[in-house]
């Protein structure tokens, strides 16, 4: 995924909230990044710091929480844990997997004044 575009989306969400709630400065941002989201947390940090300059979130601390990946295995007809896309099913070793959890990225919380 392209972390720069995603960082800009994170900033937009923050700026929308800042307008709505009258925030003057955002001190910290909690992001939830799924294991299967193809988002690289360190790249996210770098890009967020860059896009947040001169914004209401300049210098904000980025807290990243990784959420576990899971998938439905069509062969096992059961939910299984999945740590990365392209990995085989931990139960049967097959690839008939449909990712069900840990695929997205969300802005969870802000600490702001």
């Amino acid at each position: 995924m392209h972390e720069m575009t995603l960082a800009e989306s994170v900033l937009q969400i923050i700026e929308d909230a800042a307008r709505r709630e009258g925030l003057r400065h955002v001190r910290a941002v909690w992001l939830e990044i799924g294991q299967l989201s193809s988002v690289e947390p360190e790249a996210m940090r770098f890009c967020f710091d860059a896009v947040a300059r001169d914004s209401v979130a300049e210098g904000a601390r980025l807290e990243i929480v990784t959420t576990a990946g899971a998938a439905w295995c069509n062969a096992c007809s059961a939910p299984v844990a999945l740590v990365e896309l392209g990995a085989p099913c931990p139960r049967c070793g097959g690839y008939r997997l449909r990712p069900t959890e840990g695929t997205g990225m969300r802005v969870m919380e802000l600490e702001a004044e």
């Binding site: 995924m1 392209h2 989306s9 994170v10 392209g86 997205g104 802005v107 919380e109 600490e111 004044e113």
Partner: protein, 293 residues
């Protein structure tokens, strides 16, 4: 920078269209903030010593794009338009395949094209030379098309009912995967001059595609490309992938691709008709509304 959609100087442009947006008014009121239910009041604190509060957001990063994509999709379905998102590495042959497709089907189908590139209108010009209307989106520094850009392009292109709409994305196997444009299917183009292990290296894109067109098969006798492994990797990544080996240069197996297209277009038309026949349907709705939430 436009704070509603992020557009601004050096940002995406649709050729020939003035860069105008209509936005809902932002709430311009200055808010007095509250602390833990205390009455609203305005106060000034020493910097660094301000008490802060926690604000629950829980918003998906891609929610805005998904909303625009859903709008695009709804408009396509209502008008019987079969919309495809063509993705590949740069140089796999997307434009050449489109030209072939237009030459073969253009007399019987309305084919319209949205082209996406960082710079130039060269691809749109090639499409127009082949006989189909095309609008070019230049993303500037951007590496993928998004649903909002596509909505703007649709305002200019205004595809007729029952059209086949091909959206040729920026050449990039990474970023476009995450950005829904409202299409019915993603079509991934891989050429035999690339590595056969690409489906493993870029699983997200191959997993999200419905069809893989393996292009330039006329070159197979001249190169070392492990075809069986490539097909195996592709099926491992996406067991439901429809795989068609083609050559845009020679026309080999293009009829198979056209058959898949015609089937899909037929389904889209049927859906458009059934929607139009609902007593409460607004079957004359424009493809893209100029005001976006």
């Amino acid at each position: 920078m436009c704070t509603t959609c992020g557009c601004g100087l050096g940002e995406p442009g649709v050729e020939g269209a003035p860069h105008v947006h209509e936005h809902q008014d932002a709430d311009g009121a200055v808010h007095a903030h509250t602390h833990d239910g205390a009455p609203a009041h305005v106060h000034a604190h020493a910097p660094g010593l301000e008490p802060s509060r926690m604000l629950r957001i829980e918003q998906d990063i891609l929610a805005k794009n998904d909303a625009y994509a859903a709008q695009n999709r709804g408009a396509f379905e209502q008008r019987g338009i079969f919309a495809l998102n063509l993705v590949s590495s740069p140089g796999a042959g997307k434009t050449a395949l489109l030209v072939r497709t237009i030459q073969a089907l253009g007399a019987r189908f309305s084919i319209c094209v949205i082209e996406g590139d960082q710079q130039t209108s060269r691809d749109a010009e090639r499409i127009r030379a082949a006989g189909a209307p095309a609008v070019q989106i230049n993303t500037g520094k951007g590496c993928h098309l998004d649903a909002h850009m596509v909505a703007h392009a649709l305002e200019r292109l205004d595809p007729p009912r029952d059209a086949i709409l091909m959206i040729e994305n920026v050449g990039n196997l990474v970023c476009p995967a995450a950005f829904d444009l409202g299409e019915a299917h993603k079509v991934v183009v891989l050429s035999v001059t690339e590595g056969e292990d690409k489906p493993l290296k870029y699983p997200d894109m191959f997993r999200r595609a419905s069809v893989m067109l393996l292009n330039k098969i006329d070159l197979l006798p001249h190169i070392e490309f492990d075809l069986e492994s490539c097909l195996g990797y592709a099926r491992r990544t996406n067991p439901d992938l429809v795989i068609i080996g083609v050559s845009a240069a020679t026309g080999e197996s293009i009829p198979e691709w056209l058959a898949w297209l015609e089937q899909g277009a037929g389904r889209a038309w049927a859906m458009g008709r059934s929607i139009a026949q609902r007593p409460d349907s607004a079957s004359q709705a424009p493809v893209a509304r100029s005001t976006m939430p």
